[in-house]
């Protein structure tokens, strides 16, 4: 949304917002917001558990779908502005550049999650739905690798995203261990 406004200004007066290389700047800005949204999506259930506000989990679908929308625009911007609609350039990037491979993997993993995000699919898949949606974890790892491998020499962003992801993963592991321990205790 923010990016949309900037792009509109950029089109009116080239160079004013994104500098000498607007294509690269826009692709990278969209990517930044995609991984941030992905981390926000993952943090919703954590926040709900910690602050005992189960209702906010209903936000997860909306934010998750926005993450997917941003991932798609990020890819589209890359494909149109940087690869310039060249399938062969894209395939070369995909096969030779590990950070592109990782990014594409993350995007592909998000597709089934977006498709099955409706209540209808949730009902239809039943217990499998939960299992399917654990794909968000490998997707998040792939997205983090995408940022890590794209970084040239500056690792501050990667450090922050990695730390956030580690906290979110860690919280889930703790919850799981506690749940298991609780179950074990009650059976005795």
């Amino acid at each position: 949304m923010l990016a949309g406004w900037d792009v509109a200004v950029e089109i009116r007066s080239p160079g004013s917002v994104f500098g000498a290389d607007p294509a690269e700047a826009i692709v990278s800005l969209l990517g930044t917001w995609t991984i941030r949204l992905l981390l926000i999506t993952l943090s919703i259930s954590t926040v709900a558990r910690i602050f005992k506000r189960p209702k906010i989990v209903t936000l997860r679908r909306t934010v998750g779908l926005w993450t997917f929308v941003y991932a798609c625009i990020h890819f589209t911007a890359y494909f149109t502005l940087l690869a310039e609609f060249s399938i062969s350039a894209w395939l070369e990037d995909f096969s030779e550049r590990t950070y592109i491979t990782a990014g594409m993997t993350a995007l592909l993993l998000l597709i089934p999650l977006a498709v099955t995000s409706t209540r209808n699919w949730q009902r239809r898949l039943g217990l499998h739905w939960r299992k399917l949606h654990t794909l968000i974890y490998p997707a998040a790892m792939a997205a983090l690798l995408h940022v890590l491998w794209a970084a040239k020499a500056s690792f501050l962003d990667v450090f922050i995203y990695g730390l956030a992801l580690a906290i979110l993963f860690g919280e889930r592991i703790v919850v799981r261990i506690r749940r298991r321990a609780g179950r074990g205790a009650s059976s005795h």
Partner: protein
């Protein structure tokens, strides 16, 4: 390449002189292709890779003003007859400055066309009487963390100070220059003030900025990006569209400024960045291994 008259430089640099005749007499003046129009100055001074000031492209322009460039001394060491510390005014005394319009190809697959003001590197090196045993020249950028915030970063994989180097025959090639200005003015800090290397047939990172040390050596000097990621950046770093890079396709480049919906100005990258006259330096070398 073509050479045009340098406009008057600001006060700290001696009067610029014209050397078009000198360049023409060397016989290499391939007419630039039509896309080689000079990049507007504003882009060349606001879109920079100078990680000493930060890794964002606009960091050097925003933070570069903190750098003090006066006084500026250059330490000359190694296999030379006249080692010592030279003030920049000594190095520039009696030097005829000329304007050189060069393509600048960044390893990140973008390029610009910059009118530099400088003088052949060979002229500078010969003043120090290199010994016969010297095979390489090593350069070092200023290390001054209090004025260069990027050097204070805990999240940088680069070890400062930045170091670069050339084989001596590369350094003696007439295309290799030391620049002190651009666009008819003294170098802005973000572009490597007050003294930088320009080697137009190599990727931009070879053209080391804000030089404080020059050493002639017998063994190949270490270079910063090679130390940081040796699988990505070699010592030679000649522009070469056939040697793929794990991050960027080197077959083409985006000539900046690009604009979003006016076409991206993607052009084919040429061997040696189009400066074929340097090919003799690498005769018989496997450029795939010596990338």
């Amino acid at each position: 390449m073509h050479v045009i008259g340098a406009a008057g430089l600001a006060s700290s640099v001696p009067a610029a002189a014209l050397h078009a005749a000198w360049m023409d007499s060397k016989g290499f003046a391939p007419a630039p292709p039509s896309e080689d129009t000079v990049t507007p100055r504003g882009y060349a001074t606001s879109f920079n890779n100078f990680y000493e000031f930060g890794t964002d492209k606009n960091d050097p322009a925003e933070l570069g003003s903190r750098l003090t460039t006066e006084p500026w001394n250059v330490e000359v060491a190694g296999l030379v007859g006249k080692p010592g510390t030279y003030g920049i005014e000594d190095l520039l005394a009696g030097v005829d400055l000329e304007e050189r319009i060069y393509r600048l190809r960044c390893v990140e697959a973008w390029s610009m066309v910059i009118p530099w003001i400088g003088f052949p590197l060979k002229m500078l090196l010969e003043r120090f009487n290199p010994l016969g045993s010297a095979k390489y020249v090593a350069f070092t950028t200023l290390y001054r963390p209090e004025e260069m915030p990027g050097q204070r970063s805990y999240f940088s994989s680069i070890k400062y100070p930045y170091v670069e180097g050339l084989r001596l025959d590369e350094a003696y090639h007439p295309l290799a220059i030391m620049a002190v200005g651009m666009y008819g003015q003294v170098l802005p800090n973000q572009n490597g003030a007050p003294l930088r290397l320009v080697v137009p047939w190599k990727y931009g990172f070879k053209s080391i900025k804000s030089i404080v040390r020059i050493e002639l050596t017998e063994t190949r000097p270490r270079t910063t990006w090679n130390l940081t990621a040796s699988n990505e950046y070699g010592f030679y770093a000649n522009v070469n569209p056939t040697v793929h890079h794990p991050r960027w396709s080197q077959g083409s480049e985006r000539r900046l400024p690009s604009s979003l919906f006016n076409g991206n100005r993607k052009i084919s990258t040429r061997m040696y960045n189009g400066y074929d006259e340097v090919a003799g330096l690498y005769a018989g070398m496997n450029l795939r291994l010596n990338y």
